[in-house]
């Protein structure tokens, strides 16, 4: 295992440069699965996608397969999707409604709570009765933030809300509105040959790339983003970086200009919605979040859950080794929106950030290039750079976390990577919390 000392060679202390091995090396990736993915809160699904008892989805936490299901008691639980007899996958469907989960290999049956419920011929073939308590599927800690369901394998990790930290305050901008927010699924999944961190970083704060990478799409459907076409101008915006590595950009409009990329009828419906909703948000959450509510956001919740507000995509970057991921994409909407607007937002998201999205394809190839060039040993020794906006981070009254201007900035990248380095090297969550609080203050 690499130590803090090793990581000083890989990541400059301020996060401003990185050795490319962190996006390439198999050993570092193995350490990530153990130190980062097995200890962080990872997005599983949303309440709205498994509303009824027996509803389930299967997903991944890192590379661990998990089943997320709602029990007869209405409680959502998650557990490993791997039989404790010989390891086979217990549930092969992506979603559905079940009474139990039966392994295909020998017919062991697990309940909606993951407990071992039946073993065929148990009395006849086992000398002693099996210890069923020991043979239930390994449970995941499940906690929910305003309907968004997350899992954590680490029983010593802080609660989900503490892990969100300042991000909870920001999330409330669209999650703590009347009716709350929800996701439309099922997720669209795309395989890309790139390291997962490049995507998390891209969404956490790379506003800089939008005007150039996505120039073609912005030229066609630019709307409020038209300003940044071809990196001709810097858009007004703020970048936020929180204690546990989460961060985002917000590029604001005014109360009469609602920044989004919806078109036609959807844009009209969206503008009507915003016009009516902003005063509600201001009264409930105050002026800072009323302004954030009316902004395009690109953000990442550490480590691999990203989103865009105003385009309303919600993503998880599922790692598949150090050099490949699966992008999972849902649509983010407010529950009280009219159905026609929800459908319109889903269409905008799919048209821009789905599997044939007008913008999504541009990113995929960049991230593959970022990753695959490291096959060259000499190339891999050339450090990567995230020094943009260095020294501009600070605090502002009314906001709970560090922030930086403009949105063209890499403060959130650096913060993300420092959180990553802390998790890679810290022995336990006490150490992670101590080191991260120290970093958040300075």
């Amino acid at each position: 295992m690499k130590t803090t000392q090793d990581f000083r060679q890989l990541l400059r202390a301020d996060g401003g440069t990185q050795h490319r091995d962190i996006y390439w090396n198999e050993d570092i990736y193995a350490q990530e699965l153990e130190q980062v993915f097995a200890r962080s809160w990872l997005f599983l699904t949303h309440d709205s996608l498994i509303p009824k008892p027996g509803d389930f989805v299967t997903t991944f936490m890192g590379e661990d397969r998990v089943i997320v299901s709602r029990g007869r008691d209405g409680v959502v639980r998650a557990f490993l999707n791997s039989c404790n007899h010989r390891g086979n996958i217990v549930c092969r469907a992506d979603s559905g409604n079940a009474r139990s989960f039966t392994c295909h290999y020998h017919g062991w049956v697990y309940g909606l709570d993951g407990a071992l419920a039946d073993v065929p011929l148990e009395k006849e073939i086992y000398t002693e009765p099996l210890d069923r308590k020991q043979l239930g599927l390994k449970q995941v800690r499940v906690e929910t933030y305003r309907g968004f369901i997350y899992g954590n394998f680490d029983t010593t990790a802080p609660s989900l809300v503490d892990y969100l930290g300042e991000m909870a305050w920001y999330f409330d901008t669209f999650m703590d509105v009347p009716g709350g927010s929800e996701l439309l699924g099922p997720p669209i999944k795309v395989r890309i040959k790139a390291n997962w961190k490049f995507f998390s970083e891209n969404f956490i704060g790379d506003f800089y790339h939008a005007g150039w990478t996505h120039a073609a799409a912005i030229k066609i459907i630019g709307g409020a983003l038209g300003l940044i076409l071809g990196n001709q101008a810097v858009a007004p915006g703020i970048q936020f970086a929180t204690t546990f590595g989460h961060g985002f950009n917000a590029s604001s409009g005014t109360d009469e200009i609602f920044p989004h990329i919806h078109q036609g009828k959807v844009a009209e419906l969206f503008n009507d919605w915003m016009r009516a909703r902003i005063p509600v948000v201001r009264a409930r959450l105050g002026p800072e979040r009323a302004q954030l509510y009316n902004a395009i956001w690109d953000g990442t919740m550490f480590p691999n859950n990203s989103f865009l507000r105003g385009i309303d995509t919600w993503k998880v970057w599922q790692p598949r080794g150090p050099r490949e991921i699966e992008v999972w994409t849902w649509t983010l909407v407010e529950r009280d929106m009219p159905e026609e607007l929800k459908r319109g937002i889903r269409h905008t998201n799919e048209k821009t950030f789905g599997a044939a999205g007008l913008l999504e394809g541009d990113d995929g190839e960049n991230m593959e290039g970022n990753t695959q060039t490291s096959a060259g040993w000499v190339t891999r020794q050339q450090p990567l750079n995230t020094e943009m906006g260095m020294g501009r981070e600070g605090f502002r009254e009314g906001y709970p976390s560090k922030l930086s201007e403009p949105a063209d900035n890499e403060a959130a990248h650096r913060n993300f990577l420092r959180m990553w380095e802390t998790m890679m090297t810290a022995k336990d969550w006490d150490e992670i919390i101590t080191r991260r609080r120290q970093d958040a203050r300075t």
Partner: protein
């Protein structure tokens, strides 16, 4: 024209015209003649490619509809025109240098509908994409089309693409199937 029972196999001459239409459409797309392709679509075109979940056979949920499913494409003519216009901006970096794309169309069946000028057409497509140095992708799909004769010319009015993948196994599906 004689009216027939909907679902009747079309006469040979009609079948021949439909086959030529589909082959020509595939060639225009292979050759990136996207404006000529758009001209083959009706004003009310609906082009739909839903994602396909792994569901148990006993799952009683209805099949996904365009309104209630996640889709890769759920496009009208304006959406499809946007995609073509993006391609033409000169800024679509991922299309430059261009990919090598080839479509093979087969298993064509054509049937009459209740409208004398509209036909249900089934076909299969294999699309091979080769780009950059060595990147290869294969997409195999069934298509359930509705073709319409407008002023004597054939036009595509509906396309439902049934893609035989769950996880999209290449970095994007930015090709018309």
């Amino acid at each position: 024209m004689m009216t027939t029972v909907p679902g009747t196999v079309v006469p040979l001459e009609t079948y021949y015209e439909i086959q030529i239409f589909l082959f020509r459409e595939a060639r225009l797309l292979d050759d990136e003649q996207f404006r000529d392709w758009l001209a083959l679509l009706t004003d009310d075109i609906h082009y739909w490619l839903p994602i396909r979940e792994n569901r148990f056979r006993k799952d009683r949920r209805p099949a996904p509809t365009p309104e209630e499913s996640a889709s890769v494409y759920n496009d009208d003519l304006a959406d499809l025109t946007d995609r073509v216009a993006r391609f033409e901006t000169g800024f679509a970096w991922i299309e430059d240098p261009p990919a090598r794309v080839r479509r093979v169309i087969s298993n064509i069946e054509a049937e009459t509908t209740a409208q004398a000028d509209e036909f249900v057409v089934y076909s299969n497509i294999i699309l091979y994409r080769n780009r950059r140095q060595d990147e290869e992708a294969w997409f195999v799909a069934a298509r359930r089309d509705r073709l319409r004769r407008v002023d004597g010319a054939w036009r595509l009015a509906r396309r439902h693409v049934v893609l035989d993948q769950h996880v999209i196994l290449d970095e994007n599906l930015s090709v018309f199937l």
